[in-house]
Point group: C2
Chain length 226, copies 2
């Protein structure tokens, strides 16, 4: 099959459309995390319910993006960089879909949390939410712009998120040990902090795929800078 | 490029080698889960340490399999079924690598758990471990044999795993509410049961990919039988 100029242009357009849909999916996933955490902090059942019931658009996009990747691979048989970009898109799509699931998990824990008196003023968890959302945004931007520096920044932020998770855990454990009435709601918060940590892990996966895709250097399974 | 008979045979050999490596990786991941749970149940620090330090082979296989997938896609430009199989392999590889990470997470919680007196005799968690391991094994078998019935069985087993997780949570919560000295070790067990649930989720992802690959029917985001 001869690859005409027109076919090449068509392929590039399809690749850009794929990236646009991935960004849209990322925006949706990030928004769901934001609303779930907001529902937790403001104790707003309507916001929580919106996330619990609203994962249909993310799931539809997930299937559409997967199909786009298959079509691009099957019809255009891309080589080298383009091939890496599409395989990365398949993986990123999976990561974003799981982030949508985690937003639902956060909303489930939040729904239970607000049935108890607040354990404490929430400071670290919203901060974890902000970091996780920024990591997602940066990871996707690093994909679109093939920006390995930004991808590396995402990897660094993951350490900050893990540090906060440990801090949240220790603090809540103290509450639980001293006051049994806090056990149930504190457990909800611990689980929410773990869900946020996992969202950071998904952003990290995306950033690692970007670094691999751009530099064909495998940063996975190595400490940063190693 | 004309595809000679020899090229086709070479491709099939490479595809089989890829599957063999995936099975090896699955076997390793399953083994790590088994040893981590065994270390927890028998309170065996050596078993736990073995898992905490031993994820190098899984990580190396992860990179090797990823590279094999890229090579197959780039050199052979497969179509239709073969293309779906290789894209499925990319995803399955990612799932198995995360299972390896979860075995480490289980071992971390187990290391902490055994520093406290046992909360209770462990029955449900080893059972969850058995189910999760069987799900992984069946999911990979369903991939190799293109067996959608077995894949569907994996999806059904996931409900059983989720049910056990809920049961474990309720029981441990009761301990925590009545005896603050159980709060810390019970938290470890709750986290371990969540890690096992996530291993089941990865097996479920694999099974869904197999059903999609074989029947080009998308079972993702739908209730079984819907």
């Amino acid at each position: 099959m001869e690859r005409t100029e027109r076919a090449v242009r068509h392929f590039q357009e399809e690749l850009e459309a794929l990236q646009a849909r991935l960004l849209e999916m990322g925006g949706l996933a990030e928004e769901h995390v934001r609303v779930a955490i907001q529902g937790l902090v403001t104790r707003d059942p309507a916001a929580v319910e919106r996330i619990l019931r609203g994962d249909e658009p993310i799931n539809e996009l997930h299937i559409e993006i997967d199909n786009r990747c298959f079509t691009l691979l099957a019809l255009h048989q891309p080589m080298a960089t383009d091939l890496r970009a599409i395989v990365a898109a398949v993986k990123i799509n999976t990561d974003l879909e799981r982030v949508g699931d985690l937003a639902v998990n956060i909303a489930e824990a939040a729904r239970h949390y607000v049935t108890h008196p607040p354990v404490k003023k929430l400071i670290d968890i919203p901060q974890m939410g902000d970091i996780a959302q920024a990591m997602l945004r940066d990871a996707l931007d690093s994909f679109v712009h093939r920006d390995t520096e930004l991808a590396q920044h995402v990897l660094d932020e993951d350490d900050r998120l893990d540090g906060l998770k440990t801090q949240v855990f220790r603090e809540l454990l103290t509450y639980m040990l001293h006051d049994p009435s806090t056990v149930e709601p504190a457990l909800d918060l611990i689980l929410i902090s773990r869900h946020l940590e996992r969202i950071g892990d998904h952003a990290t996966n995306i950033a690692e795929d970007v670094i691999f895709m751009v530099s064909a250097r495998d940063v996975r399974h190595h400490a940063p800078g190693a």
